[in-house]
């Protein structure tokens, strides 16, 4: 049903996301939270509260609760999943890693937090999403230069990082001033993987090793290759947040002050709360979710959509693009949306102009080539859902009676042909009467 809304856009990704992200009642969303133990519920209550205040309903369960289930008869009970159970080896009930991945593949969101003693199961889920945790189970991220100054001179595993992803969509438009506290394991991303982004990276001096043992060989993960928190947007627009630290979301980190080593400024409050809340907004599609509707095209001066264009027709292309603000669809304003008139390669590439009310529009001339063309909008912007609209339209050559007639150059030929006919008549008469 919801499929039919967007079916004409012919894209494969959008229909999926409708299961998780229903525009009808998007504010009423159910989230399943799986915990190692219920202590986390209270120790991370600030994070949950901020979500609850935005209209999410939580269902707290122990991760090994035998009654947990994500779906029944193909219908999912939840819209999103928060996995705050880094040590769990086996989920209870029917849930396993494949079930969670299916949950994601059907368009649902996931927040996953690991910790220094993350289990195989958690690592496997992360790997499937494109995040490789350090294989050494005891390793944590250590940074001897950008650690937090604290009362006890620790082993520099509590890191203060301010290397955030530069995207207003993902981390919010308000700048996060204070560094983000992080304590946990690091991971790397495959650079070829275009879906996964480092939301919070380690500083160049960081490395991943076991702090309790002596470093015998150079650590495998070093420097800014280490990602501390990553976000993933799957092709079906399901969004995943993977953090190497569970305590990043904790009340303790939210409230604690932070002073980065070597830096004179001391912040009363770490950036954790702002960071995690803004990230959760992104993950739960309150920001950066676009939709394109009412794709229309027609000849200039007409309103009906033709079944076929002719070469050299003038046409107009219109599309409306909206962004979800958390409460309502609002016009999306950008000047970099482009449409291609595409047949094996783009024949026309035009930037769409917008009226600031969500309507994008352009006009161009069909190229002098016939074939089956597509109007293609491939809009991939960092942090936004991918818009990929394509609409097939054949372009035909001239009909036999659409060619130019009565060309002035050809008048002598016409003249001669008709003079021949006239000559024929005269000749006929002369010939007949001459006998």
């Amino acid at each position: 049903m919801s499929k039919s809304l967007v079916v004409f856009t012919l894209i494969t990704l959008l229909p999926f996301l409708c299961y998780a992200f229903s525009p009808e009642n998007p504010t009423d969303r159910k989230v399943l939270v799986l915990l190692d133990d219920f202590a986390i519920k209270s120790s991370h209550s600030l994070f949950f509260k901020s979500l609850q205040s935005r209209g999410f309903h939580f269902d707290f369960k122990l991760a090994d609760d035998p009654k947990i289930a994500l779906q029944r008869y193909g219908r999912y009970f939840y819209d999103a999943l928060i996995l705050f159970a880094p040590t769990i080896e086996r989920f209870g009930g029917s849930v396993d890693s494949a079930a969670i991945l299916d949950f994601v593949d059907s368009g649902h969101d996931l927040i996953l937090a690991a910790d220094s003693n993350a289990s195989e199961l958690i690592r496997e889920i992360a790997t499937e999403c494109g995040v490789d945790f350090d294989e050494d189970p005891a390793a944590v991220v250590i940074d001897h230069t950008s650690y937090t100054v604290s009362e006890t001179e620790g082993d520099h595993t509590l890191i203060a990082s301010d290397d955030l992803i530069k995207s207003d969509v993902i981390v919010g438009s308000q700048k996060i001033e204070a560094p983000v506290l992080f304590q946990g394991i690091g991971h790397t991303l495959n650079p070829a993987n275009t879906l996964v982004l480092k939301a919070l990276s380690a500083s160049p001096s960081a490395y991943s090793a076991n702090p309790k043992s002596k470093l015998s060989s150079p650590p495998q993960l070093t420097g800014s290759a280490i990602s501390l928190v990553s976000v993933i947007q799957a092709r079906n627009s399901a969004r995943i947040l993977i953090s190497g630290s569970l305590s990043l979301f904790s009340n303790r980190f939210f409230k604690s002050g932070v002073q980065k080593a070597g830096s004179p400024t001391k912040y009363d409050k770490s950036g954790n709360e702002q960071f995690s809340v803004e990230l959760s907004k992104w993950v739960f599609h309150e920001r950066g979710h676009l939709k394109a509707v009412n794709v229309k095209h027609h000849k200039v001066g007409e309103t009906d959509e033709p079944a076929m264009y002719r070469i050299n027709d003038e046409l107009e292309y219109l599309v409306e693009i909206y962004e979800w603000s958390g409460k309502a669809w609002e016009p999306y304003v950008a000047d970099d949306v482009q449409v291609q008139f595409y047949m094996m390669s783009p024949y026309v590439l035009k930037t769409l102009s917008t009226n600031n009310k969500g309507l994008y529009h352009t006009a161009f001339k069909v190229p002098d080539v016939y074939g089956v063309f597509q109007f293609k909008v491939e809009y991939q912007k960092l942090g936004y859902t991918t818009l990929s609209l394509s609409k097939q339209i054949p372009v035909r050559p001239f009909r036999h009676n659409e060619y130019e007639r009565f060309i002035p150059t050809a008048y002598p030929y016409y003249g001669s042909a008709f003079s021949m006919m006239a000559g024929f008549f005269i000749f006929t008469i002369v010939h007949l009467y001459n006998k």
Partner: protein
Amino acid sequence: MARSTSKDAQALFQSLRSAYTATPTTLKIIDLYVIYAVFTALIQVAYMAIVGSFPFNSFLSGVLSCIGTAVLAVCLRIQVNKENKEFKDLAPERAFADFVLCNLVLHLVIINFLG
């Protein structure tokens, strides 16, 4: 040598002319018609050489209509020529009817092709 050729040529033209004056007027009319058609065709070819072959179909139909007319007229001439022994049993009326039919087809095609 050159003189003898020119003399020969003169004699040749003389005899040609004398032979031609003997042809009946009907045939002469046909000859006139043929020359007219060929001449028009030549003009068009010259015109095409000047302005280029853009409306090629028009050019083709223009020239071919002339050539076709000429060829058909020649055919008619052959058939109605009384000296020609091959067509004794072909009545000139029949020949002319065939000629008209042929021309109609030709000009229909030409009109079709002209535009």
